[in-house]
Symmetry: C2
Subunit: 329 residues, 2 copies
């Protein structure tokens, strides 16, 4: 299970098994989406499979995730998603009405994100070889001229901005899966980030890197960028927006919010001189109201993420090994 | 299970559930791949999930299928595949060496087809919720200028060409799955058709429609074209290339070769005046040596496929209802 968790084991699987077998230059960049060139235009291309359990949860469904997950991967290259493919793997015996409800949710999410579902496929497997509905989406979108967003562009001096409160998706899934109640219902933050990224790019096309901290949470996203860019990252923990209900739930469940999945947040690496203007634009967007500068990139401890704790100490923020929450998306 | 078989039940699922929920114009065309426009270029975009059992079979593997299935869907729009995405859903406990072997097969097939695996994703589900390895691929390719291949262009007078012997993939899967032996080992015809289509387009860009007869076999492909174009199709059964070992196996298994899946064949609808030249070019290509004109499009019985049997009679070739061979691809 750990190989699917977005941590060290996932990274090893990609680097040791998939990348050598497939061996293309676009894959080697290890971004959320690949930047490719075809017919003279520059596109972002990305895919995700969705195996979340349960299929419907507070704040969303597998249909919403299937759209927003891929739309967000494209947005992390600066691209506005234009077209999605959609492949269903259905388990024999799943109710058609459930397939219909998920499809409606997927269609609504696509319309909300301004993306067209252009092509699809359905396979059915025997009972006991699936779990109701699995969905794969792939998406393509145009990368605007002058935009070159990738981890390798991150450099010392860049400021690190997170677009809002972290930990909501993972805690929402866990609470409904385990039947836990935390006083207020915690809703997934599942949302499409193409519009927010567009707003940021309107301030400056020179965003260095973007990442949506899904599996493995903010900790995994920061570590991936630190490794790919070879810079150090320093975070001030008290600047990271963690809602009190997420803190309480994580304390109860023994989780660290830094490692909990998000499905409607991004972390941006922005040149220092542009950071205030980008932050201001984010605050004016519905999905960026709580955006905050949480740290900076530094020359020392290259490839390592260090957090300054609320108590005045420091700690290394590691890439998770396996996963703390299986089938979160 | 029938909803995954490529027959009437699959068509109903798409038309009654998916198409209304997603509601885009590209999907509505119901081609093997969608023709889309982005940044001023015209692309084919397609996806397929692969759940074949067993993962390795005579003549190929799920890795070969995952490449060739999507490459062929793109080829059916006249596009040469350029980039693939690849999403793995692994079942907990599957051996990493098996994942590695499948990945190697997939990478080799991609290199053979001249397509780059640009982006990927891996999810892991618990034992008992998968079956070793499921793979989804999506692909994009450029549609050449002047090419407009879609079922709606088929018209009375068009000739119907099949590129070679039918039934090999389905019989190969069945024989290994059921432990049957038919004297000679029957190998899957799994292959990438982009080169063959390129050869045909070099003769004339005016191919009307192409289809790769996978699930549901040649019968399903012909029925889909008849329905989408509103023309009648007449087939001469004795002109359809069925290898003797496929005939024997089908007789033994109670199958009709017309309904058995192929993974390296296409059926083309070609203007009558171009048909001989296209056929000649196909014969000169390694994947078209046994290409044959098997019938024609007619004005009577619109939307219906009729076969002239070897015995001098006629029969209606229906779209299959459900499926005769589950998890064939």
């Amino acid at each position: 299970m750990g190989h699917g968790g977005g941590g060290v084991m996932s990274a090893e699987l990609v680097q040791d098994v998939f990348a050598p077998a497939f061996g293309g230059p676009a894959l080697a960049a290890l971004s959320d989406s690949a930047a490719i060139r075809i017919g003279g235009v520059r596109l972002a291309f990305s895919t995700d499979s969705f195996v979340v359990r349960p299929l419907f949860f507070p704040g969303g469904s597998i249909g919403d995730l299937a759209v927003n997950g891929t739309v967000n991967d494209l947005a992390m290259s600066g691209a506005r998603a234009a077209y999605l493919s959609c492949g269903f793997i259905l388990e024999e015996g799943v109710e058609l009405s459930l397939v219909g409800r998920v499809s409606q949710a997927l269609g609504s999410a696509a319309r909300a994100a301004g993306v067209e579902v252009a092509t699809g496929d359905t396979k059915v497997v025997e009972a006991g070889h699936g779990d109701g509905i699995y969905i794969n989406t792939a998406g393509i979108g145009l990368i605007p001229d002058g935009v070159d967003i990738r981890p390798q562009r991150v450099a010392p001096g860049d400021l690190v901005i997170v677009s809002g409160a972290i930990g909501l998706h993972g805690v929402a899934i866990m609470s409904v899966r385990e039947g836990l109640e935390f006083g207020v219902e915690i809703q997934s933050d599942c949302a499409a980030l193409g519009g927010l990224v567009g707003t940021m790019l309107a301030v400056t096309p020179d965003l260095h890197a973007l990442r949506d901290p899904t599996r493995g949470g903010l900790a995994a996203a920061l570590n991936e960028i630190a490794t790919a860019s070879g810079t150090g990252i320093e975070i001030r923990e008290r600047n990271v927006p963690v809602p009190p209900e997420v803190s309480s739930a994580c304390a109860f469940l023994g989780l660290d919010p830094m490692y909990v999945a998000n499905e409607g947040k991004l972390v941006a690496f922005v040149p220092r001189q542009d950071a205030d203007a980008v932050l201001e634009a984010m605050h004016a967007h519905p999905l960026g109201g709580q955006a905050a500068i949480i740290g900076e990139c530094v020359e020392h401890h290259p490839g390592m993420v260090v957090a300054h704790t609320g108590l005045g100490g420091t700690r290394v923020v590691d890439l998770p090994i396996g996963e703390q929450l299986p089938r979160i998306c």
